[in-house]
Assembly symmetry: C2
Homo-oligomer: 134 residues x 2
DNA sequence: ACATCTATTGACAAAATGCAGTTAGTTGGT
DNA sequence: ACCAACTAACTGCATTTTGTCAATAGATGT
């Protein structure tokens, strides 16, 4: 009996992951809108966007960067002048700037929806409390 | 040369989907915290949570319900008394109530992170404008 | 009889994820 | 000289998770 997603009762935590993925690319793109930079650097600046560096595999970041390059949002060149292994330095494109704008708009919508959901949740809780009190 | 996620330049829209998936289960669980109900009904009440019913395949909803049942957040029974085909009616469990609480908390965090991101974006834009004006 | 609406489920391809490993240059210690 | 640790980027692959597209089936209206 295979049965998909068997899950122990208590595995209610993967929502974090989803949340992270939702803002990963926008965060990267925003950083690149400020300054050009390379993956490794972006990776550890992600902390300031609320990312838990322990939970975030570097391959995801590198992969997202490559993907964004493939879709034309960013472009890259090799920097071999810096010390250490050479870096692939990314910079945002015009398409990327437009996309960033769109992403921010739709993230705004998502945030609103989340807040509405939370409001509903709170009023539901309140209601229950009143019934139980009665 | 295969290359993952090749994407035309302009496919900057899939963020919506992620946002939807982020709140789908919490929305369903919240509805079930209010009243027990069945998939088909929940499905069309999703509109009031900001879901575009055109974009959301019913099988996703049914699957999420089954998955939540598998993890013990909800439980179900068959209702054959109602007219039409029989329904699988779900109700939330105690574990589900706790989970709902946790989900709402972590969604709150996500909303905050999104808002911070948007703030950064706005101040970045402002900065650029000032430089260009100078 | 046939279309339509209600209601749920299944199968399968495509995409996303996590993990581990590979390649390489640099720095510093013993 | 050798080894460990850090920086830096990438690849491969087995799972999970999605999205799509049906298939099934009772009920209702014409």
């Amino acid at each position: 009996m295979p049965g998909r997603r068997q899950g122990k009762p208590g595995s209610c935590r993967q929502r974090q992951r989803r949340g992270m993925r939702l803002i990963l690319r926008p965060s990267l793109l925003l950083m690149l809108a400020e300054n050009e930079s390379h993956g490794y650097d972006l990776l550890d600046r992600l902390g300031s966007f609320g990312f838990d560096s322990g939970r975030l595999d570097s391959s995801i970041v590198y992969r997202d960067l490559r993907d964004m390059e493939a879709t034309g949002l960013i472009e890259s060149y090799w920097d071999d002048d810096s010390k250490g292994p050479k870096r692939r330095v990314y910079r945002i494109t015009d398409v990327g700037l437009i996309c960033l704008e769109e992403w921010m708009a739709s993230l705004g919508t998502v945030a609103e929806q989340i807040n509405q959901l939370i409001q509903k949740f709170k009023s539901n809780k309140k209601e229950k409390k009143e019934i139980n009190h009665d």
